[in-house]
């Protein structure tokens, strides 16, 4: 019944998932949860290596329900309901597309499906259904309603899987369905334009929402949504370099989010706090965690010398090659705004004055560091050897029927517009960094050593225990003064979805009444029904 095929595309996604899972296995020790994790990884295997749509769908839905049982261990019923209804909706949309394809072509094997047999109208319906599936799973506006709460309330480590792996299932489906199976010539370009703009809107909206969050995990959740927005936008171009850029960004984002979520999980594990307003100054006690987070946000912001820059570079050049200047400007705008939340992340948690004393801190198990180091090492390596990502994605490009990208050395990443040498940049950075470090540490420190965290009386003021000494959480509050950002921040899709829930519930209460009618009334209704049928029938 199931058929599988090992493809470069599936292998990349499965390999990346396996790395994330293994690094999290090291931290989690509870057997019930590990069983569910294993089911989840198996279902991902089904999905990534499937050769027909039924196998794909089995993997897809198993992913949904096995995650459900993990999420439901921590989250409230409202959140899990939101998660499962949206994701089952995605699954059923996919199922709808699958049966429509079957009805039109009579087969469900990837290589046998020929989209030229399907009428254009039906084709568009199928595409829209698949896009809805992708959008829900990846959390594209306006289907992102379930994402943030789920990420926030899930187990801290499972949020890493949700953000790093599960959200990528949508990207995988995008590449598989629209590039491998459909082929570029059967898609209406208007549809792709809409998708591209949805991606951009998603990234802008999510970026500003992220900046205004007080909960760290909510910030990361919005940042995930924004990053997926970039990928969707660039993939909608549907050519070789778009796939390359998309896959590169997928890889980077997986490791960035693994690093960041495990880092935040460590912080929450240590302090038991998860809000920016309750944290600050942790660099003094946890410099290694600080450094790891620094690597994560440099990559997340897409700055050199780390891997994050390479994928952003590829995204920008792909958009430039296609002369999609407006998209490019919008993405750059959102990408630049992302610096703000990246900075909030590191400043709010690690810098400034500590907000509370460190007596109650728990000690962190070593296993928490392993996952972060894996992410950091990959990001640094990709920064030094940018074309390593190209070397990995080339077999995928070939298998999808695109020209592979030529590169001279692993150090160099080139496009038709520009090229740069990652190794050289890294070398310069390291040299400058070390020089600065030496200079700074050789300057004699004349600062007064403080007795405890409240000893800042040389500032002319004696704070009390409850005074917050760190304003890291306030970053982004002023942004609300800008008109369109205020519009983004004050609007939400939530009321619309909740309206839908209310309508359904109200109609339910109304309809339920027919099932508690008295028997006389039911008999009367049946006779009336009989008469109506007779009347219609005789006519």
């Amino acid at each position: 019944m199931f058929s599988f095929e090992i493809t470069p595309l599936g292998s990349l996604f499965f390999g990346l998932s396996a790395i994330v899972f293994i690094s999290l296995y090291l931290i989690r020790k509870e057997s019930k949860e590990l069983l569910l994790y294993t089911i989840l990884l198996t279902s991902l295997g089904f999905m990534f290596y499937a050769h027909d749509f039924v196998t794909l769908f089995v993997g897809w839905e198993s992913m949904t329900w096995s995650s459900y049982f993990i999420i439901t261990r921590k989250a409230t019923i409202k959140t899990t309901q939101k998660y499962i209804i949206f994701n089952l909706g995605a699954g059923f949309a996919l199922l709808g597309a699958i049966v429509l394809i079957y009805g039109a072509t009579g087969t469900l094997y990837y290589n046998e499906i020929d989209f030229s047999y399907i009428s254009p109208a039906l084709r568009v319906v199928i595409y829209i259904l698949v896009f809805i599936t992708i959008f829900i799973k990846s959390g594209i506006v306006p289907f992102h309603y379930w994402v943030v709460d789920t990420y926030e309330e899930s187990d801290h480590l499972f949020s890493a899987i949700l953000s790093a792996i599960i959200s990528k299932a949508g990207i995988f489906l995008f590449i598989l369905f629209f590039i491998q199976i459909v082929g570029t010539q059967y898609i209406e370009s208007q549809l792709l334009d809409i998708v591209a703009w949805l991606g951009v809107i998603t990234s802008i909206v999510a970026t500003f929402k992220a900046i205004s969050q007080d909960s760290i995990k909510r910030l990361l959740a919005y940042s995930s949504i924004a990053q997926i927005g970039y990928i969707i936008t660039v993939l909608s171009i549907l050519n070789g370099s778009a796939v390359e850029a998309g896959l590169y960004h997928v890889t980077i984002h997986i490791f960035v989010k693994l690093l960041l979520f495990v880092n935040i999980a460590s912080i929450i594990y240590i302090t038991g706090r998860s809000q920016f307003s309750q944290l600050g100054g942790l660099i003094y006690k946890y410099p290694v965690l600080f450094f790891l987070l620094l690597i994560g946000i440099i990559a997340l912001a897409g700055m050199p010398p780390l891997g994050g820059f390479n994928s952003k570079f590829l995204i920008y050049t792909t958009l430039l090659e296609e002369k999609r200047a407006l998209l490019l400007v919008a993405i750059m705008f959102s990408s630049a705004s992302a610096f703000l939340y990246c900075f909030k992340l590191i400043y709010g948690i690690y810098l400034g004055q500590p907000t509370h004393s460190s007596d109650e801190y728990k000690s962190l198990p070593k296993s928490f560091y392993i996952a972060q180091f894996i992410g950091a090492i990959v990001l640094v390596t990709l920064g030094i050897f940018p074309s390593l990502g190209i070397a990995i994605s080339n077999p995928i490009l070939i298998s999808l029927g695109f020209e592979p990208t030529v590169y001279r050395t692993l150090f160099e990443l080139n496009s038709s517009f520009a090229s740069f040498n990652g190794g050289m940049i890294m070398l310069v950075f390291v040299v400058v960094f070390i020089t600065l470090l030496i200079i700074v540490s050789s300057i004699k420190n004349r600062a007064v050593k403080s007795r405890d965290r409240l000893d800042i009386s040389y500032c002319g003021e004696v704070p009390k225990e409850e005074n917050n000494l760190h304003y890291g959480y306030g970053i982004g509050e002023e942004l609300g003064r800008i008109g369109f950002i205020r519009a983004i921040l004050s609007n939400s899709v939530a009321p619309y979805w909740e309206q839908l829930v209310t309508i359904t519930r109200d109609s339910s209460v109304l309809l339920k009444k027919v099932y508690s009618l008295t028997v006389q009334n039911i008999g009367l209704l049946i006779v009336i029904f009989f008469t109506i049928l007779l009347f219609i029938g005789v006519r």
Partner: protein, 463 residues
């Protein structure tokens, strides 16, 4: 070996009840096992027609084709599981007689080759059901039984009206003759007959808008009885409904009407379940919803969709048996059937059972329900009934809301009491759950059987 044994053996055993007294449960089990063997012995010899003539119109004729054999085997197997489940408890005489009568009547319903006998078995099944409803012996049960009786009588009146008009116009009660000559009747009488039969059988087959009475009955009866109603009785009537529909070659427009009624059944039932706060009622609504799906699939006339429908019938019978029996454990322990019992028990075993049952009913892979669902949807897409595909998918989402709410309640952090389930019950319930998983992973053999059943139903009337 005669087909009439399927009816006479259980009835005979019921008459001999005073002789047995003790060991009723073993005799009942042995009886059903021998009936199952009997059914299996007919497998190679299909189709068989048997006629016992008295006077010309009043003959008894039985037809065994792969469809009716499929249902007979299904019903007897479900009944055996049901009996095995309570083998450790003493069996009252009522239960012995009523289960026998139920099996005799549903076998008679699916085997009968003439419409008058169908009416007789229809009545026997109804009477059995009334008494089964009242078994709880409290006010609710009696009032439920009376309601049931009134609805059953209305159904009988319409059915009798239809049968009378058929006999007056054709002069025969044999289904084959009726199928042959039905088109010769003038069209307005045809319509009267079809509508009467639709209402008569529709009330029992629990299709919208004739199913308003069902949920109250489910709430009045005990869970074990509900398991029988949901797994056996409603399935027999649905088969009968479509058996006759295909025999009479009713035209495409009417089939479309039936499909629409199926969609409305499904939608209204699932929406109603959404705000229900009583587990028995929720399960009853879910049964009504599944019946809606069966109506959609069975009225499509497509081989693949029908195959899926029969697969769904098997699965739904087993799933609902398992779910109602599990619910019974909870209801007895907590003395309530409100949904908050789901947040009061602690038992991983039951949670897994409910999860498998619910996910299978929703058609989520890799469970059996998925195979049925995708077969139905593929069949519907193949005949280009896209709106039915959309309807099933969207309404399933509503179904998911309340099933997952129940599952979510089992995971909530609340004060919980452990549930006592004997190992024996665990084995029986667990094997049903395993069977559902098994059917999801290895559906081929059952699919092949369902396919032959589907072609037998589609070929009905061509004999």
């Amino acid at each position: 070996m005669s087909l009439i044994l399927f009816v006479t053996l259980p009835l005979l055993a019921s008459f001999l009840t005073p002789l047995f007294r003790d060991y009723l449960k073993y005799i009942s089990l042995a009886l059903h096992a021998s009936l199952l063997l009997l059914a299996f012995s007919f497998i190679g010899m299909l189709p068989i027609t048997e006629t016992i003539s008295f006077d010309s119109p009043l003959s008894i004729s039985f037809v065994l084709d792969s469809a009716s054999l499929f249902f007979v085997i299904l019903f007897i197997s479900i009944m055996i599981l049901f009996l095995l489940y309570q083998i450790k408890e003493s069996m009252s005489r009522e239960i012995f007689i009523l289960t026998n009568m139920l099996i005799a009547s549903v076998s008679g319903l699916v085997l009968s080759g003439d419409i008058f006998n169908i009416y007789i078995f229809f009545e026997i099944a109804s009477i059995t059901a009334y008494i089964l409803t009242s078994l709880n012996r409290d006010k609710k049960a009696y009032s439920g039984a009376i309601r049931y009786m009134i609805m059953g009588s209305i159904a009988s009146i319409f059915l009798l009206m239809g049968i009378m008009s058929i006999y007056l116009n054709i002069g025969s009660l044999s289904l084959v003759t009726i199928a042959d000559k039905f088109s010769t009747i003038d069209s307005s009488t045809q319509i009267l007959i079809l509508i009467s039969l639709f209402i008569g059988f529709g009330i029992k087959a629990e299709v919208f808008p004739l199913n308003f009475w069902v949920v109250d009955i489910y709430q009045a009866s005990s869970n074990r009885v509900n398991a029988l109603f949901s797994s056996i009785l409603s399935k027999a009537y649905i088969f009968l409904f479509f058996h006759i529909a295909y025999m009479l070659h009713i035209d495409q427009k009417l089939m479309w009407f039936l499909a629409t009624m199926g969609v409305i059944s499904f939608a209204v039932a699932e929406l109603s379940a959404l705000s229900s706060r009583d587990t028995k009622r929720i399960f009853a609504y879910s049964t009504l919803g599944q019946i809606g799906v069966l109506f959609i699939a069975l009225s499509s006339g497509d081989q693949k969709a029908l195959t899926g429908a029969f697969f769904l019938i098997v699965l739904h019978s087993i799933t609902k048996l398992m779910l109602f029996l599990s619910l019974d454990i909870l209801n007895t322990q907590f003395g309530s059937s409100k949904i908050d019992i789901f947040s009061r028990f602690r038992s991983t075993f039951l949670v897994i059972l409910f999860a498998i049952g619910f996910l299978s009913l929703l058609g989520i892979p890799p469970l059996g329900g998925f195979i049925a669902k995708i077969a139905i949807l593929e069949g519907l897409a193949y005949i280009q009934s896209y709106y039915l595909v959309g309807a099933i998918l969207i309404i399933s989402l509503v179904e998911a809301v309340y099933f997952f709410r129940l599952l979510g309640l089992t995971q909530k952090d609340t004060q919980r009491d452990p549930v006592v389930i004997s190992l024996y019950h665990k084995i029986i319930l667990g094997s049903m759950a395993l069977f559902i998983v098994y059917l999801g992973l290895f559906p081929e053999s059952l699919l092949a059987i369902c396919q032959s059943v589907a072609s037998s139903l589609l070929g009905a009337g061509h004999v």
